[in-house]
């Protein structure tokens, strides 16, 4: 089948996956439209006092540009605080601390990013966000189905197994949680360090088979 030359979608038609318990919504743009040359997503804060960009530093080297499409937000950029009404661009080089909190209802920020000097690779975290978005919306079956398919396609990567272990722990499936966590640690020992601090596993830490 020939790929269509173009795709169209309105911001209102994009999925709204909860990213945290406070109300930050991830609106996948790249994934919806099939973009491959750069990353692009929208984030919406509906109430107007919640986080709209998670505070982070992009340690994987992505150059990121944020655009406030609607509403208003206060960004942290390095040591500075930036008032950002609709129409504001905020550029953060890799390693610069950045984050934003909405100051008006229905604030939407579009985030664009890619790694300088390298062909763009689609971030694996997108599919993990989708799965946990389903979970936060109360759709456990769809979350498990999505993560299981992701793990089947990426069996040699620890992140899929680790996140499936988290989901199984959150839904009290002891055996499956332990099996996937063991596999994640086998693939990369740093999974053990993450699991030691991850509250998703708190209820099973005393289990003699718990591997972290």
């Amino acid at each position: 089948m020939t790929e269509k030359a173009y795709e169209v979608a309105h911001l209102d038609e994009l999925d709204r996956f909860p990213v945290d318990e406070e109300g930050l919504l991830w609106r996948p743009v790249r994934r919806r439209l099939g973009i491959t040359a750069f990353g692009v997503n929208a984030y919406t804060a509906e109430k107007g006092d919640e986080r709209v960009v998670e505070e982070h530093e992009e340690k994987d080297g992505h150059d990121e540009l944020y655009f406030v499409a609607s509403g208003r937000a206060t960004f942290v950029l390095g040591d500075e605080e930036v008032d950002a009404p609709a129409g504001t661009f905020v550029h953060a080089e890799p390693g610069t601390k950045r984050g934003a909190v909405a100051t008006e209802p229905n604030t939407t920020v579009i985030a664009m990013g890619a790694k300088p000097g390298e062909p763009h690779e689609v971030s694996k975290w997108e599919e993990i966000f989708v799965a946990f978005g389903h979970y936060r919306m109360g759709d456990e079956d769809n979350a498990r189905k999505h993560l299981t398919a992701f793990v089947a396609e990426n069996d040699d990567q620890w992140q899929g197994h680790y996140n499936l272990a988290c989901l199984e722990a959150l839904t009290r499936n002891r055996h499956a949680a332990i099996e996937h966590l063991k596999r994640a640690i086998e693939l990369d020992p740093q999974a053990k360090e993450y699991a030691a601090k991850d509250e998703d596993f708190d209820w099973m830490r005393d289990d003699p088979e718990f591997p972290a």
């Binding site: 790929e3 661009f89 905020v90 550029h91």
Partner: protein
Amino acid sequence: MSGSAHISDLTFTFPNAQSWAMVRTHFGVSSFGVNAYIAEEKGVEVIGEHDELGERSGHHEELYFVVSGHATFTVNGDEIDAPTGTFVFVRDPAAQRRAVAEEAGTTVLIVGGKPGEAFEPSPWERTTRGLVHFANEDYDSAAEAYEQLLDETPGDPGFLYNLACAESRLGRTESALRHLRQAAEADANYAKNAIGDPDLDAIRDEPEFSAITGQAGAAGSGS
């Protein structure tokens, strides 16, 4: 550099009621292309008709986002109604695309990159170093910018053409005609462009102009 700016602080406006915001160069974004275009009047092209295959194009897949206002996109002949909040993603570099503003102040953000390759800025982008001076009607600075660009890329037909336009505005008839001829010889499309370009009105009645464009006495009429 890390930093912030409002889109209204980045724009410069041309006499044809188009404004550009050169976002990528302002911030030094090096991993994808990003700019914004504003049509100050209804009916004005906010995205000029183009594909991404030409020598001066980046062969990019392009994402357009209607930031404000309302536009009608045309992609490969298909009309797309695009109110504020619409994304139009053109993955095929060969697709012809353009957009016309249905409201004054319609603003479109464009993000682009070439799949499977590290980002390289589109060659056309460098021309804005001179175009910004056209927007300010500072033709001395425009001519100087294009002379510098030609030192960097000798014989580039786009830079030669824009230098000819600046020189025409400055009354430097002889050098304007010389550079226009060089541009047209390198790329015949510039001879066609010259026919309706008001920047060249001052040299339009010269016999050499007619010889270059192949149209004796052609009147200026375009944008």
